[in-house]
């Protein structure tokens, strides 16, 4: 049964994604503040130290977001579930804001806690604070929604948690204006601060998240047949669900801590994969991740090159493009329904 036609289609999609990613990545190396440039050699400092980490980092962040979106949609059996709508991204942003505010105000008071001058210490504390915020906010959303059974309740709770946490973040920014500049790039979403170490950090987290989610992918498949059926197949859902929520929060948080709030990649990537192939989660998780990487990489190139030398925040661009895509999907779904 290894030559099922579906496997061929999965292979085609992988080749397509590889091709697109390579093309976009190559463009990324050639896009600078002057738009597309062809004259530079790959050994130039600007390519080695700025464009490679930015392109690679944008891809990694997109992969992390695509993966966490695919996990969220499988886990909550909800095509609208996404790190943003579940409140986890706002939680991650609040975690980031807390660290930045502490860094801006308490650097002298708490010298040992967060050493802003040490890059790794700062990144690790940003990432773990983001993780903590993301994880707690998903749990909070689930508590408000009283479980995952009611789609509408879940989404509404996620929106409420997102809005409230966003307001707290804004309040902190208003009270500590020193942290505002560094926070701004987080809220808008930007790949400008990416460097090789951030890429290494994201790669490690990505490897871990992929491993765990592949090991638990059968749970997501079984959940597709309903919760009771999944339990009748011998799965202990409670611990599995906690593990998957933790992996999803970690992937979201790691991406948010490096590139800020980038909306819609996690929502759109699994949709795009599903519209091409219908496969088990073992395949769709990785495909959605690769799709997310290609999407964010492409958005980053556009954001840098479209109005060069003026650079758009990539989060703004993904919001516009992703929102447009969703609207188009909604329209075409309505169309299908009225025809049938």
């Amino acid at each position: 049964m290894n030559n099922r036609p579906i496997h061929q289609r999965i292979q085609h999609l992988w080749w397509m994604l590889l091709l697109i990613t390579c093309a976009v990545g190559w463009l990324g190396l050639h896009t600078g503040s002057l738009g597309l440039e062809w004259g530079l050699s790959y050994s130039d400092d600007i390519i080695q130290e700025i464009r490679i980490p930015r392109t690679w980092g944008a891809w990694l962040a997109g992969v992390l977001l695509g993966l966490s979106g695919a996990i969220a949609q499988g886990l909550f059996r909800n095509p609208l579930a996404d790190p943003y709508l579940l409140g986890s991204a706002s939680g991650a942003a609040l975690g980031v804001a807390t660290v930045l505010v502490l860094g801006a105000t308490g650097a002298s008071a708490l010298p040992g806690l967060i050493d802003v001058s040490n890059w790794w210490a700062l990144r690790l504390s940003l990432t773990s604070a983001a993780f903590l915020g993301a994880w707690l906010s998903v749990l909070f959303t689930l508590m408000l929604a009283r479980g995952v059974h009611q789609t509408m309740r879940l989404i509404l709770s996620g929106v409420v948690v997102g809005v409230v946490l966003g307001a707290i973040t804004s309040l902190m920014m208003a009270m500590v204006p020193q942290a505002l500049p560094s926070m701004q790039s987080f809220i808008l979403g930007s790949t400008a601060s990416l460097n090789p170490s951030a890429c290494v950090l994201m790669s490690l987290v990505l490897f871990f998240c992929c491993l765990i989610s592949l090991l638990t992918s059968k749970v997501l498949d079984a959940l597709g047949l309903g919760e009771t059926t999944a339990r009748s197949l011998g799965l202990s859902l409670k611990p599995m669900r906690m593990i998957l929520i933790a992996v999803m929060s970690l992937a979201t948080a790691c991406a948010v801590a490096q590139v800020g709030l980038i909306a819609f990649v996690g929502l759109v990537a699994p949709h795009l994969v599903r519209s091409r192939v219908q496969v088990t989660h073992r395949h769709s998780l990785l495909l959605s991740a690769a799709m997310g990487g290609a999407l964010l990489c492409a958005a980053d190139v556009l954001a840098r090159g479209l109005w060069a030398p003026q650079e758009l925040p990539v989060g703004v661009l993904t919001a516009v493009l992703g929102g447009g895509y969703l609207l188009w999907r909604m329209q075409s779904m309505n169309g299908e329904r009225s025809h049938s």
Partner: protein, 259 residues
């Protein structure tokens, strides 16, 4: 074959502080097909879930003489298969992948499907006449076709005890007949089937019938017993009539005008 496959003692189930099942005692014999009948809301589905160990209950449920709490969840999942009513299903999985989920209890975490799993899946798909659309996603199927796929998932499990809630309500008559011969086939090979069926005439094809009303078992006996027929007539307010016709027992709806 008079072994007890499934047994409950003083079984109580509360849902939202409301008592759904009242101190039920029931012995279900191995190698037989048992149908649970009764009016809407009398607790048939809840009984099936409790017997499968899928909801919280008070009292005892014994599967093969072993309390459900003593079973390892994986062994229990291999031993019994459950099919619910109106369970959600992921429209994006292909028919083949859905049926393969029935083999999940037999697979280890890291291993994929082995040739034996593929064999069970293709046998079950062919049995349900679903083999031709095995590569189609579930979302593209009609209600009846989808139900046949979910049934194939259950048959592929190779379980010893099958608990099925309304398995054939949305199937056409030929496929209902196919389901009945599948049940009779597995029962002949020693498996035990407990099902809730809406159609009373089909229920009377089972070996045994459990008659329920308001969370209580009113009667449990052979489908050919007149006592069973009487209990069924009573729980349905005397609005059915059970007759014999050419050797088959039929449950007919009494015409409202005649009452």
């Amino acid at each position: 074959m008079n072994h007890i496959a499934l047994q409950c003692q003083q079984l109580q189930v509360h849902i939202h502080q409301q008592k759904i099942l009242h101190d039920l005692n029931l012995n279900i014999r191995q190698g037989r097909w048992t149908c649970v009948v009764g009016p809407n809301g009398c607790g048939k589905s809840t009984l099936l879930k409790a017997l499968s160990g899928l909801i919280d209950y008070k009292g005892q449920v014994l599967m093969a003489d072993l309390s459900l709490s003593q079973w390892l969840s994986k062994n229990l999942a291999q031993h019994r298969a459950w099919l619910g009513q109106d369970e959600s299903s992921n429209d994006d999985l292909t028919v083949y992948d859905v049926v393969m989920l029935g083999r999940l209890p037999h697979q280890s975490w890291l291993q994929g499907a082995n040739p034996k799993d593929h064999q069970y899946v293709s046998d079950a798909l062919k049995k349900m006449h679903a083999w031709d659309w095995r590569e189609r996603p579930l979302g593209q199927l009609s209600g009846g076709e989808r139900q046949r796929v979910l049934l194939a998932r259950v048959w592929a499990s190779d379980a010893s005890v099958f608990l099925m809630d309304e398995p054939i309500s949305n199937l056409d008559v030929p496929h209902q007949a196919d389901w009945i011969s599948s049940v009779q086939d597995v029962v002949k090979h020693g498996a035990t089937v407990v099902s809730v069926l809406h159609d009373l005439t089909l229920s009377l094809l089972a070996d045994d019938v459990v008659v329920m009303q308001n969370g209580i078992i009113v009667h449990h006996g052979s489908s050919q017993d007149t006592a069973t027929h009487q209990a069924m007539t009573e729980v349905f307010d005397g609005r059915i009539q059970i007759v014999s016709h050419n050797g088959q027992t039929l449950a007919l709806i009494k015409n409202a005008i005649q009452i």
